[in-house]
């Protein structure tokens, strides 16, 4: 099973990810822990929102605003990085945490490597589904690369200039 980092600890990833379907309203959603595409969730939210084992994933060009009304009910939101150099997911994560006040698990998925984890964490991700060829042990170190930061972030609500002694 691929590994997952959650709140600084290594686990096996128990979730199944469904790919985007042509007809989102007809996509079969199996039992168990399933992460469904945003479109599927939106099309089937009446039936899915009663389940506690459903997560939703957003692609980098999708709008987190679409989740706004139900966001607090979700057990897991994942944001896809189609390529590690596609930086839209960082803004999406901040919006989910800061604009929509989501408190649950926020996961980076897709092309998730080591050297981006620190920034991802700062933008609100607390969960990382690493690309399968990456070592989770080494990745942990990537979460603490910098011992100080200038900007406010989800991990540090005050910018350095409000904390400088």
């Amino acid at each position: 099973m691929p590994s997952l980092i959650l709140d600084g600890q290594i686990f096996e990833d128990q979730w199944v990810y469904l790919e985007k379907a042509e007809a989102a309203d007809q996509q079969q959603v199996p039992e168990g822990k399933v992460v469904v595409p945003l479109a599927t969730w939106l099309a089937q939210k009446d039936s899915l929102s009663s389940r506690a084992d459903i997560g939703v994933w957003l692609d980098s060009d999708e709008e987190p605003e679409a989740l706004a009304d139900h966001i607090s009910e979700l057990a897991l939101i994942a944001v896809n990085f189609p390529k590690f150099a596609d930086g839209r997911g960082y803004s999406i994560a901040r919006l989910i945490r800061e604009r929509h006040s989501y408190q649950g698990e926020l996961r980076a998925m897709g092309d998730v490597l080591l050297d981006q984890l620190f920034y991802m964490k700062r933008c609100g991700f607390n969960s990382f589904a690493l690309r399968p060829d990456r070592s989770a042990e080494k990745a942990l170190a990537g979460l603490t690369t910098f011992t100080e930061v200038y900007q406010a972030g989800t991990d540090q609500p005050l910018p350095l200039f409000r904390r400088r002694a």
């Binding site: 590690f84 150099a85 596609d86 930086g87 839209r88 960082y90 803004s91 999406i92 901040r94 604009r99 490597l113 050297d115 981006q116 620190f118 920034y119 991802m120 700062r122 933008c123 690369t145 910098f146 011992t147 100080e148 930061v149 200038y150 900007q151 406010a152 972030g153 609500p157 005050l158 910018p159 350095l160 200039f161 409000r162 400088r164």
Partner: protein
């Protein structure tokens, strides 16, 4: 100048360690070429045609003599003994090895320098007026605001993987713009509102490159304390909606055009509503803290035009030429701003040797409170020279090659490294500059032409800012051969404009003669002392076209 405290040192040291680890993993095969690429770029390391190139950041152009000496050492120890000042107030080493790059960065970190975000799709070095803090023309010193932006943009977690590179420039002079804010992704003009409150006019979407564009004003007045939250709103809109499918359409200017400036401004304002009263809003304490790093040095009470200056000015024509061309008025009586030109015949524009860098450090110590500035025009500036010592300084810099009195004239050419160094080039640019400098070596003729910018880029990326040169030269590739396209009528500054293409391109040997013809048209048509750009605006492109292609 800004002095690092423990926090700043810690952040830059962590960065050096991080990059050392990344470089190790790259050589161990744990990072692919593609994965290492943005990491090394964001540490200033390009791989160029002949060797890697390290672009060292000079925040808003300021250097101390201590930093200069370290740059000289690094240039000597890790390179072939010379470096290149770029048009973006950075310094490039052309021959370091990838293995050495982390070591170079460690040496630079000791003197509060780095190469952070000098390359890659992130927020780059913020630039400003080379005369900031010493010119009489400015409203306030813009450097504290540049430093505030530097700290905010350094390792900003949300904006490290933008669609494309992102450049911010700040200007504080109401009537002139040496920072070229109209051709930056974001241009900030520091202004006051009717009540005298300080703030910024915000321009977005200017740029050179393949699709040159003049920036649009998206906010007439942004209050001083709202700087960072507003930048954050702009960057977030760009990060989310800027194009990522085509790198030639990925700059913010394309997004602003597609959404229209009004539409873009609306999006930004809506985003900003959520951010403006958040913790990133600047505080009085922080603004005062940063400003305290930019207080005036210990100026003496002096008079203008002391006899030590007036006498040689009257007696020595060469000195007087240099003085009128290369020396600029200072805000304090008895002081002057001095441009040291790095455009000597036979030397590629902007190139300096390690010993020249050390000489510059000595000059800064002896004449200018140990500080020096680098300019977009690839020259350097001593900001605080006593007028009574100008003659002495001039005599000293003549043999060093820093006193060519051509500032702002035809032969003060802005030129990118081009095909001699850069793997993206279509054509060489330095030999063109050299041929033009050789052709127009008659200084009286050059003076008579007056202010005239000639800018050369080796390809569409426009590092030589050819679009905004009064005469612009662009290297193009025609079936594998190097050709040059000429544009006329570009201008930087408050009335910036993009040059118009003259017509079909030329071979390198033809260039000096073609430029001469363009100049002849100007000389024939000029009214009195009219500047080249004004003549062009009056008569248009046609007369130039007719003469050149006759």
């Amino acid at each position: 100048m800004y002095k690092y405290d423990d926090y700043d040192h810690r952040i830059i040291r962590d960065r050096v360690n991080q990059f050392q680890d990344q470089t190790n993993r790259y050589f161990a095969g744990e990072l692919s070429e593609e994965e290492f690429l943005p990491l090394r770029l964001q540490n200033g390391l390009y791989v160029q045609r002949l060797a890697p190139m390290l672009r060292i950041c000079i925040p808003y152009g300021m250097l101390s003599s201590t930093q200069l000496r370290r740059l000289a050492k690094v240039t000597r120890d890790y390179d072939k003994g010379y470096a290149h000042f770029t048009t973006r107030q950075n310094l490039q080493l052309n021959w370091p090895t990838v293995e050495d790059a982390p070591k170079i960065l460690a040496e630079l970190a000791e003197v509060e320098m780095h190469a952070v975000q000098t390359s890659g799709n992130c927020i780059r070095n913020t630039t400003t007026d080379q005369y900031a803090g010493v010119t009489q023309e400015e409203l306030v010193d813009p450097r504290p605001y540049c430093e505030i932006i530097r700290q905010w943009s350094t390792f900003h977690p949300e904006f490290a993987f933008l669609p494309r590179k992102f450049k911010i420039a700040v200007n504080s002079c109401p009537d002139t713009d040496r920072a070229a804010i109209h051709v930056h992704d974001i241009g900030l003009q520091i202004i006051t509102d009717e009540s005298g409150k300080l703030g910024y006019k915000v321009l977005v979407g200017g740029g050179l490159g393949r699709t040159p564009m003049i920036g649009s004003v998206i906010r007439e007045f942004l209050p001083e304390h709202d700087l960072l939250t507003y930048l954050e709103a702009i960057l977030r809109v760009y990060n989310r909606y800027g194009r990522r499918d085509n790198k030639y359409k990925a700059r913010i200017k394309i997004l602003v055009k597609a959404m229209t400036p009004e539409g873009f401004a609306e999006k930004v304002e809506a985003e900003w509503e959520h951010l403006k009263d958040g913790p990133t809003k600047l505080t009085d304490v922080e603004i005062a803290r940063i400003k305290s790093h930019f207080v005036d040095p210990d100026y003496q009470a002096l008079d203008n035009q002391p006899s030590e200056l007036a006498t040689p000015l009257a007696e020595n024509k060469y000195f007087s030429n240099w003085y009128h061309r290369n020396v600029v008025p200072h805000k304090k009586p008895g002081y002057a701003i001095v441009n040291l030109t790095l455009k000597k015949l036979g030397v590629p524009p902007g190139n300096v040797t390690d010993s020249q860098i050390e000489q510059l450090a000595n000059l800064a110590d002896e004449y200018s409170f140990g500080e020096l500035r680098v300019t977009h025009e690839q020259n350097v500036v001593l900001g605080d020279v006593e007028q009574s010592r100008l003659f002495e300084l001039w005599e000293k810099i003549k043999p060093l090659g820093f006193a060519t009195p051509n500032l702002g004239t035809l032969t003060d050419i802005i030129c990118c490294p081009g095909g001699d160094y850069c793997s993206l080039a279509n054509a060489k640019s330095i030999p063109v500059a050299e041929a033009l400098q050789a052709k127009f070596d008659d200084l009286d003729y050059v003076y008579d032409l007056g202010e005239l910018d000639l800018n050369i880029s080796g390809c569409m990326n426009a590092c030589g800012h050819h679009h905004v040169g009064n005469i612009g030269v662009l290297g193009v590739d025609k079936k594998g051969e190097e050709w040059y396209q000429i544009s006329v009528g570009g201008a930087s500054g408050q009335d910036a404009s993009i040059g118009q293409i003259l017509g079909p391109s030329f071979a390198r040997e033809q260039m000096p003669d073609v430029i001469e013809k363009i100049l002849q048209v100007y000389v024939d048509k000029r009214n009195g002392e009219e500047l080249f750009i004004d003549t062009f605006r009056r008569i248009g492109l046609t007369p130039f076209k007719e003469r050149v292609y006759a």
